[in-house]
């Protein structure tokens, strides 16, 4: 099976574009990153749904999480290895109603589904960036999204919405471009990564680095099947546990084994192990190990207060009405962090609402609980829309 796999699950220019469109950042000057590095010839892959109103005032930006991409809604198909990650919320008549609103989702910088990232070709030598790709941050992501907005003629977003890593971008939008956001919806996220979150993500990075096939990040020219699949799968397996919950694992898997045998064998698998392996193997087919490194590092570096005179000063810049959402059973981005976000904004005099989703599904609840996420989200968007009329 390993031999069928490309070295990286990254989308490559020869692959079908699917629903992607591409924005190019000014080619005549480098895109300087928050961390000090720079990239030339940056390309941003994005998708849109619905139609932009003549006034350009019905646009919603949706920001994806770690292993998401621009394909927030729609079927699996050529160029899109998986169905849209929020297809249950984005579409005609759905909570983020594409009959009413113009929805945009862009793959983040450092990603691997069409936006410039470590699997992209370096303009100097036409070979993949690999280990040469600089560290990126949420603020870099937001700046590329601002370029897409300008290209599309969107001066101000009706809302910027996202969960997990997407929510970090939502908060950065509120601080960096308060005049370009009419509302914000950060979900299952944080003002700054906690030590435990850093611990989890850094362990995943270590798993990738431990894989000899990672080759210091320069594996793209290795033979098919010879990429750092073991390390990336392992990183995913660790995170998959943190994405779900004890209760869900007990209900779904209990102590069932995959193949009952007489006696015991060290590598005999319980069903929960097969489930984790399935998710590890699946990610390897559509993701790039170096992107996993860069984006988890970007999450660890997420700190709204950095370089802004502290968290309070940073939060004070957020003026847009905000709907904060959390999932009751989330152990990775616990509800206390959502309450902290809401509390910080409230102290700021901003119009803030906090909705806690009652779900056993853990962090992934924001992707699963269609109605509990969709209903307050839809109502919030309607209210924001009305408030401007």
């Amino acid at each position: 099976m390993a031999l069928e796999l490309p070295v990286s699950g990254a989308w490559r220019p020869g692959d079908p574009p699917g629903n992607r469109r591409f924005a190019r950042l000014a080619g005549d000057r480098p895109f300087v990153l928050e961390g000090g590095g720079a990239l030339r010839d940056v390309q941003v892959a994005y998708e849109t749904w619905g139609a932009l109103s003549p006034a350009g005032d019905n646009a919603i930006l949706v920001c994806h999480a770690l292993t998401g991409d621009s394909h927030a809604s729609g079927d699996q198909g050529p160029g899109h290895p998986t169905p849209g990650w929020w297809s249950n919320l984005i579409g005609p008549g759905l909570a983020i109603d594409t009959n009413r609103w113009f929805v945009v989702c862009a793959n983040v910088l450092g990603g691997c589904q069409g936006t410039t990232g470590p699997a992209s070709l370096h303009p100097d030598d036409g070979r993949p960036y690999g280990s040469r790709h600089p560290v990126v941050t949420m603020r870099d992501f937001v700046r590329t999204q601002a370029v897409v907005a300008s290209d599309l003629g969107i001066r101000e977003w009706l809302s910027v919405i996202g969960g997990s890593m997407g929510g970090m971008q939502v908060l950065e939008w509120g601080v960096m471009f308060p005049e370009r956001v009419r509302s914000l919806v950060p979900i299952c996220t944080c003002l700054a990564a906690s030590a435990q979150q850093i611990a989890w993500w850094s362990t995943g990075r270590r798993a990738i680095r431990m894989d000899p096939r990672w080759r210091g990040g320069d594996y793209y020219e290795a033979a098919a099947g010879d990429g750092p699949h073991g390390g990336l799968a392992m990183a995913r397996m660790i995170s998959q546990i943190t994405f779900r919950s004890d209760d869900v694992f007990t209900d779904r898997f209990g102590r069932q084994v995959v193949e009952p045998i007489e006696g015991f064998e060290l590598w005999q698998r319980f069903q929960v192990e097969r489930y984790l392996e399935y998710h590890g193997d699946k990610l390897v087919r559509r993701f790039d190990a170096n992107s996993y490194l860069l984006l988890t590092k970007a999450m660890d570096l997420h700190d709204l207060g950095r370089g802004r005179g502290g968290m309070d000063e940073a939060v004070r810049r957020i003026t847009a009405p905000t709907l904060v959402m959390g999932v009751s059973s989330d152990v990775l981005y616990p509800t206390y962090q959502q309450e902290t976000i809401a509390g910080a904004l409230l102290g700021n005099g901003t119009d803030v609402d906090y909705v806690e989703i009652d779900s056993p599904h853990g962090h992934d609840g924001f992707l699963i609980e269609r109605d509990q996420v969709g209903e307050p989200l839809h109502q919030f968007l309607i209210d924001v829309e009305k408030s401007a009329q």
Copy 2:
């Protein structure tokens, strides 16, 4: 640094014995394991503290957790790479008072600190067992401990006490030898491993297997420094996160970095990463990767009800008064599992008490919270002692 390390941190017969003593299981017949395998010439390393009363009725068995060993109390020194893991509870005048009671702790089968395990030499060829070592279970551990008890002339334990993996052995003692235990103290443990617990431990096993230096388990004859240290350290780093808590990590590490630099670098470490690496490196010096595999598998296989007509039937065999303890912030063996143990025993008519330790330290709280563990434990032991007079 790697070159200084032996291939395995296992104690070897040429090393100083420290406070160890050794029991040998009958050499004329194989020790048949629950899983169907068998071992010959089994040796059990144990330590004792205090003096056995003439009546032989003041003996307490303490069962160690995953990476513990027989050195439950005492200093670091030749043969004992770390201080006793429960030195704050076991000693003269302490909660488990060695002026009053005779305390025994034995290294588990499959371990690496003197009891037969994968680093031990196979009697057939004098070479390490390695991949040939059979799977072991809690019930096998208990049977070796019963042999030690008989060797020492202990017909009945005043109490059997242990946390985490140690608590699993405590429960098995209650089921397997109800007539040989006057009381039980299972702490931060479970009646049967949950799917999430299996998920965590299996991820650690995968980390070891992923290390090319693990060599399918037969690495003992590799050059010094060439053992599966990376995999074992990684397994430990994962588990170390589950042993502690979000709050403790935030308080201790926050978002501090080890060495501040201008800009960002992918492998720059936060303090919490250094902490995890420290614990990974430390374990590698005193533990054996194959033991980690076997003992985590033994924990996953822990199911008090297996082969006994179900959990209710198994629990019904436990007749000894029991003190169950849990730690409020334990995310690995959550308090609901301790309540389940207590509830099951109560339904059984046994004398049961449940004490919840209020601590931010997570699972490791049972090793840290000296007073909160020690006081109810001491009182319980005194009561048990009195009840027999």
